[in-house]
């Protein structure tokens, strides 16, 4: 490498040997071909292995060829580039596989009957049955959790942004951060410890309470961000007209940021809809329809997936139901995400871009 210091500076220093532009594609094609060859010759069945071998060959091949033609620095640059691309593709593979298997296996039993019937007396290993009871349970539990968590979360955020100063707001800010990190099962255990005190049996609302604990900090954080985006000029303009502060907040600040707040609440709903662990501890699950969240065990969609998987004893029918329920759950969560983003875009403050 010390040649770099000794080379006399001639006009040629600008003209480094470069690989042609198509070389990454050529190396990629070569390494895939080689990997397939190795896979066939070595009798490796898993396509995933073929892909991994191709990725390794690609990175190594790029480095070797670039180092030989362009020099070490360029080779390092190219290896970094190829590593970054490979990492990205690595992340796409599981996502694609997950969505592919959920859709392909989920549509098998997903029909109107499945959505409108409960498991009832259908045994876990038998085909038939549906998820109506689970959808109903999830909607009730999540709905109740939202009714509790959304107002508390929004009001707390209002306190932090509009009134907060001093130690109380610092403490709240800190513990909201701490709360975001609580594992969902710990929230479940907390409610469980209360239930043990009062000797209560599992019921839907207990799950709602745990979900509300998980939801609150998320709502506080996102609402806070949105309220901070409201320019102070708006508040001052309203206060200067003699409008009381609480009316200023209700009539000026909240309407300005309502789109973002709604988005935040919907995203947090999407998050808690998929929570299984607290529901497992507190709501138990139920093969029958129980529309009363305040008494008796209820079903829930994520819990249904888990129980179909865990109690199936390897039965294909139960797995099919688990996949179909997963597809329903993902569809619901994605729909919430899409609508939330739509609202965010539609109500977003107009930026000059």
């Amino acid at each position: 490498m010390s040649t770099a210091t000794l080379t006399p500076k001639g006009p040629s220093t600008l003209r480094g040997a470069r690989l042609p532009k198509w070389s990454p594609y050529a190396i990629a094609a070569g390494s895939i071909a080689l990997a397939v060859g190795i896979g066939l010759a070595g009798g490796l069945h898993s396509r995933v292995q073929w892909g991994l071998i191709a990725a390794i060959l690609y990175v190594v091949g790029t480095y070797a060829i670039a180092a030989a033609v362009e020099g070490k620095r360029q080779a390092k640059d190219r290896i970094a580039t190829s590593f970054v691309w490979v990492a990205f593709l690595l992340a796409v593979v599981p996502l694609a596989s997950l969505i592919w298997s959920t859709v392909v296996r989920g549509v098998k039993v997903l029909d109107v009957y499945f959505l409108t019937h409960s498991m009832g007396v259908v045994a876990d290993t038998e085909p038939g049955g549906g998820i109506y009871h689970a959808i109903l349970g999830t909607l009730e539990q999540v709905g109740l959790a939202t009714v509790i968590a959304a107002p508390i979360g929004v009001l707390t955020a209002i306190y932090l942004v509009e009134y907060g100063r001093g130690n109380l707001s610092k403490a709240i800010t800190f513990f909201v951060d701490v709360m975001t990190g609580i594992p969902s099962i710990v929230a479940g255990l907390f409610i469980l410890s209360l239930m043990l005190m009062f000797d209560m049996q599992p019921f839907g609302f207990a799950g709602s309470l745990a979900l509300a604990i998980l939801m609150m900090p998320v709502v506080v954080r996102s609402t806070e961000e949105m309220l901070k985006l409201v320019p102070n000029e708006l508040r001052e303009a309203s206060l200067a007209l003699g409008v009381p502060k609480w009316r200023t907040i209700l009539k000026v600040v909240l309407p300005t940021s309502i789109g973002g707040i709604t988005t935040g609440i919907m995203l947090s709903i999407a998050r808690i809809t998929g929570e299984t662990a607290p529901v497992l501890l507190l709501v138990w699950g139920n093969a029958f329809i129980n529309a009363n969240p305040f008494e008796g065990a209820q079903a829930s969609l994520p819990l249904y997936i888990y129980q179909q998987y865990a109690n199936s004893a390897g039965s294909g029918a139960a797995y099919d139901r688990a996949w179909a329920a997963s597809l329903t759950l993902i569809a619901f969560v994605m729909l919430l995400n899409l609508v939330a983003r739509g609202i965010a875009r539609w109500k977003a403050p107009k930026t000059g871009r």
């Binding site: 490498m1 220093t13 003209r15």
Partner: protein, 258 residues
């Protein structure tokens, strides 16, 4: 060491927007050439085409030729990384690497370009800091972070970093606009010394500065906002400031414009 720059028919774009159009000029080695002109006239853009930094910004694209001693910077097979090693640059705001010490900042470019022995590296760092008139102020704290220096010192640190790799050309993009008058004076003195070894091109908003430091001055202007900037004229600094050949130049210099 210092090389001549020959630009012909150079046009630069940001996406579909044409920023500068059809610029041709020659920059003599071992001289200081100043670019002046109103805001948005493309002088900084033009400067950044001289070491292929323009294409780093999104949508940045260049047509035309820039010859560095007969070699076209935009020719086929030219490596932009090597170009930037030969044509150094000092930016408007001092930008030492915040996580590196003063020593490491100056050595940063050298470490990219080869393996140096420790003693060699120390020699070059000392020479470069002396070259940037900064050695006496920092020799006792070479291991302290560069961000602890004053603005003027930081800018001289950046100059030391740029000259440490012994480039052929040194481009300066309004190097004093963020500095106080005393630091500005120090940099101007430094430019006077550096032109013994380097070809220097400096963009400045300050016409007195152009008059003080440069041998030749180029005036850029644009017909209207949104129109591409153009080179109006380039001539000896004395002539530009006393008796320019174009009316627009005289208007700008005497303050009747912009």
């Amino acid at each position: 060491m210092a090389k001549r720059i020959d630009v012909s028919g150079l046009t630069a774009y940001y996406g579909s927007h044409k920023a500068i159009e059809d610029i041709s000029m020659t920059v003599e080695p071992r001289s200081v050439t100043a670019f002046i002109g109103p805001s948005g006239c493309g002088k900084s853009t033009f400067l950044r085409t001289l070491n292929r930094m323009h294409e780093v910004t999104s949508g940045g694209r260049v047509e035309g030729k820039v010859l560095l001693d007969d070699e076209d910077l935009y020719g086929t097979g030219i490596d932009p990384v090597s170009v930037r090693r030969e044509v150094g640059m000092v930016f408007q705001r001092p930008n030492p690497f915040p996580t590196m010490s003063i020593f490491d900042n100056v050595a940063a470019g050298l470490r990219l370009n080869g393996n140096y022995k420790k003693s060699e590296l120390a020699d070059i760092v000392e020479r470069s800091l002396k070259g940037a008139n900064l050695w006496n102020e920092v020799k006792d704290r070479l291991n302290k972070p560069g961000s602890g220096l004053s603005g003027g010192q930081q800018q001289r640190l950046c100059i030391a970093r740029a000259i440490a790799v012994e480039p052929n050309v040194l481009l300066m993009d309004e190097p004093c606009s963020a500095l106080d008058p005393i630091s500005t004076l120090a940099i101007e003195d430094l430019i006077g010394e550096l032109k013994e070894r380097f070809t220097i091109v400096i963009v400045t908003h300050n016409m007195q500065q152009a008059a003080r430091v440069s041998d030749r001055t180029a005036f850029f202007n644009l017909a209207a906002v949104g129109q591409p900037g153009k080179l109006i004229e380039i001539d000896d600094t004395e002539r530009i400031f006393s008796n320019p050949s174009v009316q627009a130049t005289e208007d700008y210099i005497s303050g009747r414009f912009g």
